[in-house]
Symmetry: C2
Subunit: 475 residues, 2 copies
């Protein structure tokens, strides 16, 4: 394991000289900085935290830490779910939340340049005011764009628009040595050497610190319509999804969820939005589908064709949300799944697997039957359109150590099934601290060795976000 140094009072003074009035140390550090939204993977406070304001400040902090072998961990809004921003080796935490300016738009070339601490929600609203859509739409709207890029977040609209990766044009990066460089450019395409931009995307703050981003926008669609589609059971619900994708109707989002998680979410919201019984049949599962287009009238034929297809496939009904109020209501329940679970649960873990869309039913049946062997209960929902499932293991009464042991056993089997189906162990949350072991099992020693080698090239002293994605040499 690399030998790290502890922060001395002299070094804290030097940090203070770089970022006057924006350094905290020891017990004064914000306790939130010891964790993200999934504390089950461990909490650990940094020795000092810096509220950075600029690329230059971050470069100076990193250079200081590089010279003194001090770990550096970057944190956005801390909304991650794998412990990715937890400074497990101590050292300095750099918070980017005050680097929250949208710097400029190029509306002719459809790009926006911004600081990494801008929140997703902030960009979404601002882009819309400029007539543009930033397509990636992760559930957590209070995440930073820097964090989104670092985990290649994706969310609801991935079916039509892809993941964050597809919208990153360029970035300014502080390397672990303190050098400042840039990857990519604002143009549409490139074949100019190894794509360091794509290597940075999804690297979870282990290769460099993103200090500025240029992102791609698209013209905002003139109209958006969602369909709420109840089914009697999950199997016919999911079986409809490939047919929707083959139809050429090009939905923006296809979410699925079962009755139980809807009840959890509606209890949290204290509001019932979705129908629970249709013509005497109890609803077992739902699709929530969104289409966008130039205008409501231009979407008429699409909606009609979609409704026909859905009813032919066994939908109990097709409810249309075509006003802002109805859209907001339909999506509020979906957006509160995690909050609903968190409110009801004391011990919580999750996975973020991706399987081929057509294998979702088989996978969910497997997960349900597997879970019967354990004492926790399962809740899940997912992006049906792209095969990305969020499966939560929840308990309010288990012993913590017992919960951890059972979840580990469960996850090991679940990930093995994921890989057997040709899937991925994380679709959008990343590996962070929580999924290290499973990544190694999933991609194999050869690929892990390549990743470790790349890490060493960027970060010869291994100071940047140590103990993430893969273990430290003697972790």
């Amino acid at each position: 394991m690399p030998t790290y140094q502890s922060l001395t009072p002299e070094l804290i003074t030097q940090l203070e000289a770089i970022a006057p009035g924006r350094v905290t140390a020891g017990p004064d550090v914000n306790p939130d900085y010891a964790r993200d939204e999934m504390p089950i993977y461990g909490t650990h406070a940094p020795e000092a935290a810096v509220e950075a304001l600029s690329t230059e400040e971050i470069a100076a902090v990193v250079k200081l830490c590089y010279d003194h072998n001090i770990p550096v961990t970057t944190r956005g809004a801390g909304t991650g779910l794998v412990g990715g921003c937890v400074p497990v080796m101590g050292g300095v935490l750099i918070s980017t939340t005050r680097m929250n300016k949208i710097l400029s738009y190029d509306l002719e070339n459809f790009t926006v340049t911004l600081q990494p601490g801008v929140l997703l929600q902030q960009l979404a609203e601002d882009a819309l005011a400029h007539g543009c859509l930033y397509p990636p739409d992760p559930g957590e709207k209070l995440a930073t764009l820097g964090g989104n890029v670092s985990t290649n977040a994706s969310g609801m609209r991935g079916v039509k628009y892809g993941a964050t990766r597809d919208y990153v044009k360029a970035m300014t990066v502080v390397l672990p040595t303190g050098e400042v460089t840039s990857f990519g450019s604002a143009v549409s395409k490139t074949s100019s050497g190894y794509n360091l931009l794509h290597l940075m995307i999804g690297s979870e703050g282990t290769l460099g610190i993103i200090t500025e981003l240029t992102l791609k926008l698209i013209p905002a669609p003139g109209a958006t319509i969602s369909l709420v589609v109840p089914f009697a059971a999950l199997a016919p619900c999911i079986a409809t999804v490939p047919k929707l994708r083959q139809s050429g109707l090009n939905p923006q989002a296809i979410e699925f969820f079962e009755r139980e998680i809807l009840l959890t979410s509606e209890a949290y919201l204290e509001k019932q939005v979705f129908p629970r019984v249709i013509d005497g049949t109890e609803v077992g599962a739902y699709l929530l589908i969104t289409f966008d287009g130039n205008s409501l009238s231009a979407l008429d034929a699409t909606i009609e064709q979609a409704a026909e297809l859905l009813l032919a496939e066994g939908a109990l009904d097709v409810l249309v949300a075509d006003t802002p109020a109805k859209l907001k209501e339909a999506w509020a329940a979906r957006s509160s799944f995690l909050e609903g679970i968190e409110e009801q649960t004391t011990l919580l873990d999750e996975c973020d697997v991706v399987v081929p869309v057509t294998r979702i039913p088989e996978y969910v049946v497997y997960a349900d039957s597997l879970a019967k062997h354990y004492d926790f209960r399962l809740q899940y929902f997912g992006h049906a359109g792209d095969g990305n499932l969020h499966i939560y293991t929840c308990s309010n009464d288990m012993d913590r150590e017992e919960f951890l042991a059972q979840v580990d056993d469960f996850m090991t089997k679940l990930y093995a099934k994921t890989m057997a189906l040709g899937g991925q162990i994380s679709g959008e949350h990343g590996i962070g601290r929580g999924k290290i072991k499973y990544l190694a099992q999933a991609v194999g020693e050869t690929n892990i060795a390549l990743m470790r080698g790349i890490k060493q090239v960027f970060d010869p002293k291994m100071i940047l976000n140590p103990g993430k994605i893969f273990s430290l040499p003697e972790d």
Copy 2:
């Protein structure tokens, strides 16, 4: 520089044991294997060539070469334009053209799995027969998919559908050590460690040899319509492009070209397709725009709105190609630009720059005025919708050395302008042998050092396609 060994008769015998009847050596090697389509960057024959049939054969060949420090260069169809597949250090050339099987489709999950020697044209036709479109559409239809992925080729439809990168889901790779691994998977998205898949895409055969690919397809659009749009001059022609993109009409392709290159191409085809005078005004430049949709009738409103916009922006006319015959004719002239130039030219070099779409007029004016200082003539055309320009320096009467010296001076200045506009030195052709110096100037020493470091991680003995993308240490 790494110390390479020459092939001995014993090693050739061992190659023959791996690929019986498919090894040639010395003077028996196909002379085409010494060059690609741009021989100005130098030709160099390999010591032996292997017509590989499988991943296992390639792994065995690479392992043998790794053990004996012998350079290995992979070649697809040899249609590259930067000398990328030229075995400049000799050694073994592996040709993938006989690995040309389309292995399987997964029509529910919209993927196709194939060998790397499948040709673009072969996949396009076969996918269409399966109701699917493979969106990337480089001009050179006889390129292999392995080559397309290795240069992140893009082509005409990039405006709407992106580059090859966006359609690569997974690949099997033989590493320079002879190990076989796989990157990516057939699912829609991932955040599972460093993205080795994206690192391989565009790495021009320097990090590993692609032996199998899983590519993403989309449902084939029901209808395609192209518009031929003549303008009096280039400036209003190009100025229309951002407006088209902002219109929300979502064209699949927006190509531009000037009168001169059209005349070259039509002379080559011995056929006049495009109008040269409209109502007494001589045509100076053209846009060739394609839209796709579910049906011809569904495209009516789009075509009408596009025509209105184009005429308001100064188009002299809008000619509609809405039958297969008319579409083929409209695109035949565009597709023959390079062949037309090649037929007329003895000394030829080119660049493949990308600039922001709105800067194309400024850039072209600069290139034209710069070219006045040299003895060669310029021909160019480009993907207006994504700012990618192919600029050819052509001469039939210059001394070769003088041509090379003048082109180098011209390119150095042109690339400097490219970078000043926030562009990239290659959009889709790659760096290969021909653009090494300019890449280093463009991305800087820090980024080149990272790329070299990555190369070393994958290829510790530097045997794979040496002398490409960046120079050998003492090149």
